[in-house]
């Protein structure tokens, strides 16, 4: 089976005063109908990788790759218009904080319907019905009331669920979720995760889940790429997180305090300059 | 080009370091990095160039101007541009326009400098005190500000000048008095956001008083956006001064103030267009210079507009 998304040797470069800065350096992976996690600390290039797929890197940043194909179609050679057709319709993205992703002066209904109608050209009525259906799908109890309200009337967890509903209303094949729960409280976090989980499973979508939370990702995803300094240092099957070999992954695990495993001191990650230089591990199947 | 010049190379490195070794070093490095951002902005550099030129012209007016700006020559009045000995022509009294424009730059700089000193400082004081103290002090200070804002600027300046008497100093005073309220507004708005930030809370926890917090912690952050605003407003100040001069309430003849010069040239505008146009172009160029520089400074000084991440 051919993968939904095939990325080979992806590089994101920014010019700076001190010369070119490569924030993502040769990342390769494929995504099938699975949940792929990308884990890394800030500055590891994980978010840029997600954005680069949708070509959302602002100038003067550059995206280059040997191959970046969506169902066999080259994403890099697409023009603006084709790219807009891909964004939202075939690949959707959920960002960290719903506060900044929802338009504060439009009702939820208008925002969901606008997206749906933009991509499908459906009538207002069917767009409204679709919106209600999607809000129900993300476990919102009173979808009619929510449709009429404005984003500021929603809590963080509600906002994020609305965001997910909005991103999935066009039934994309791939969802990129960039830290979708880190602005949320832990209890709400679980709810949002289970909603994403169910939707991805039911609809046979591919999910790229970007996060800094190693435990969360490994308990949620099928495969995990661990990124460090713009490269993939290790690819793991999620259940086998604790068999990780790379010292960086092991160091990250060791530095987490655990309720069930008390330690007097936390392990401190000793960074090795060699990790930075080692070639990127491929996540292609 | 850098490789050939070793000492310069090391100076550049010294300035670009991330690990300054002394207070002075840190300050220079910060200034240099700001300068680099400004330098990358071509339009800002054009603006800066215009203003530096103005400064040089004003400083060397005695050397640069071909003639005495006050010497009349009624035989050679209203000579067109390009006349022998009068490159920009002469005015209705036969005075050399080039010399008058050159000397006029001194007056313009004088006005700009004084207004730039008075108005933002008054505005900063009023705005930060009102914003930080809040309550009744805030209400009183801001209502006073509102009263000043309620009048059209030039009309208010006219009233002041009419009351104080015509003349350049009074014009400057009048313009300053009408220019400070917007600065107070900006300073207050900035103060309101800064005052609730964690770093102000942190210094409060060291037992710092209001005076120290306002002067040492809030001012440095307000000043940058004020500088930008002042630079952008300077074009308006020059125009207001010229407007007062034009109406005969600013600089008095025979002073070569640009606004007054346009006013004189107005009578001949149809047949002898250059008499009004030459000082008009001078005003236009300097205003443009300030506007361009102001835009560039905004990129350097205002972190909200510039960076995103």
């Amino acid at each position: 089976m051919s993968p939904l998304l095939d990325v080979e040797n992806l590089r994101v470069t920014f010019p700076t005063r001190q010369g070119e800065f490569e924030a993502v350096r040769g990342v390769s992976f494929t995504l099938g109908k699975e949940r792929l996690g990308i884990v890394g600390e800030s500055g590891s290039g994980k978010s840029l990788t997600g954005r680069a797929i949708l070509r959302l890197i602002r100038k003067p940043g550059r995206v280059e790759a040997d191959k970046m194909e969506l169902n066999g179609r080259d994403l890099l050679s697409m023009n603006k218009k084709q790219m807009q057709g891909v964004r939202g319709q075939e690949i959707s993205m959920v960002m960290q904080d719903p506060k900044f992703s929802l338009n504060p002066v439009m009702t939820i209904a208008n925002q969901i319907m606008e997206i749906y109608r933009f991509h499908t050209g459906a009538s207002k009525k069917s767009a409204y019905a679709k919106g209600i259906e999607m809000l129900e799908a993300v476990s919102i109890r009173d979808p009619e009331r929510v449709m009429k309200s404005y984003p500021h009337e929603m809590s963080g967890g509600m906002g994020q669920r609305i965001m997910i509903a909005m991103m999935l209303v066009t039934e994309p094949k791939i969802l990129i979720a960039d830290e979708p729960t880190s602005a949320l409280d832990v209890s709400v976090q679980t709810q949002v995760m289970s909603i994403i989980d169910r939707l991805v499973r039911d609809r046979g979508m591919g999910l790229i889940f970007i996060s800094h939370d190693l435990n969360l990702v490994s308990s949620f995803c099928d495969r995990v790429l661990i990124m460090y300094a713009g490269r993939v240092v290790e690819v793991l099957d999620a259940g086998k997180l604790h068999d990780a070999k790379h010292p960086y992954t092991r160091g990250l695990l060791g530095s987490l305090p655990r309720i069930d495993d008390p330690k007097t001191r936390l392990e401190v990650l000793q960074r090795d300059a060699k990790w930075r230089e080692a070639p990127s591990v491929s996540g292609r199947i | 080009m850098m490789e050939t010049d070793m000492p310069k190379q090391t100076l550049r490195e010294w300035l670009l370091t991330d690990t300054p070794t002394s207070r002075r070093h840190a300050r220079y490095a910060a200034a240099y990095s700001g300068w680099l951002t400004l330098r990358a902005n071509t339009m800002a550099m054009v603006g800066l160039g215009i203003l530096l030129l103005l400064l040089i012209i004003a400083a060397l007016a005695d050397l640069l101007s071909p003639m005495d700006p006050f010497v009349q020559n009624l035989g050679g009045r209203l000579q067109p541009i390009g006349t022998d000995g009068h490159i920009l022509g002469t005015d209705s009294l036969g005075r050399d326009l080039l010399s008058r424009v050159i000397y006029g730059s001194r007056i313009t700089l004088y006005i700009v400098a004084l207004v730039a000193l008075i108005a933002p400082i008054v505005g900063l004081l009023v705005g930060t005190v009102a914003g930080y103290t809040g309550g009744i002090v805030d209400a009183v200070l801001m209502r006073i500000t509102d009263i000043f804002l309620a009048f059209p600027r030039l009309v208010l300046a006219l009233a002041f000048v009419a009351a104080l008497g015509a003349g350049i100093e009074n014009a400057v005073l009048a313009i300053s008095l009408t220019a400070w309220p917007p600065y107070a507004r900006i300073a207050r708005a900035e103060t309101l956001t800064i005052r609730n930030s964690d770093y102000i809370a942190a210094i409060k926890l060291q037992g710092a008083g209001a005076l120290r917090i306002i002067t040492k912690h809030i001012w440095p952050l307000c000043i940058s956006s004020l500088i930008v605003r002042v630079t952008l407003d300077m074009a308006g100040v020059i125009l207001a001064a010229a407007g007062l001069g034009f109406l005969g309430l600013g600089a008095q003849p025979p002073s070569p103030e640009w606004g007054a010069m346009i006013s004189e040239g107005r009578k001949f505008i149809l047949d002898h267009w250059w008499v009004a146009t030459v000082p008009g172009l001078a005003i236009f160029t300097v205003s443009l210079g300030f506007n361009l520089l102001g835009d560039g400074l905004r990129d350097v000084l205002d972190p909200k507009e510039g960076g995103h991440s």
């Binding site: 305090p257 309720i259 001191r265 990650l269 | 930030s197 060291q206």
Partner: protein, 256 residues
Amino acid sequence: MSNIHIENLNVWFGEHEERVDAVKGATFDVPSGASFGLVGESGSGKSTILRAMVGLVPTWSGNMSVGELELGKKRPKAFYKDVQMVFQDPYASLHPRHSVDQMLGETLSLHGFKDIDNRIMQLLDDVGLGPAFRFRYPHQLSGGQRQRVAIARALAPKPTVILLDEPTSALDVSVQAEVLNLLADLREEHKLTYLMVSHNLAVVAHMCDATAVMKNGEIVEVMTVEDMRAMKPKHPYTKHLLDSSFGYRPDAEQSA
């Protein structure tokens, strides 16, 4: 050395119809030299307790005391010498235009220290930053380094009590480990009392001897770290928090 005593503390924002009660009848004690946690989700009022203690929120009622000092409307200067606070976001708690040197120097001079140069070097050394960091500005520091500077600032007046408001929640996990280790070392070395606010139960379990669990402004349970490790919560909300802190488990979704 000072113990913290909080009794029936209420904190509110706004007046009349707009009044929001952020903390309702909170009572707890922190013995001198202990480390006590306040856990809860956003809006539970945990940070508000700290802000009321240091006088950043003036609208409160109840009894608060630190050591011998009963807290009233105004804090005497000696209070700030004794009680210091580290804020959550190191990107917001350092003045953007002040270098590390200015920041520490000003703090020291406000508390009347002489010999400021040496104290600054000592403080930087204490928090594991070398002298190379002395003249840097916040934008030249990483998140972890910023938080170390903020800790150095809190240590400057030689306090006995440090209030920690989510000191690591804005940091990467590997940096979090370094900062938590540093805080533990400093507590040992300077015999400090910690009152630490966090939403992360694992962090609190690591750092504190006991913790209060807060929900909607009320303390629902005070539990020792042993009870937490044994997963023996008394209140269902605590259980829910504990469950949620173990990553994602599809089988746990029904409880939500």
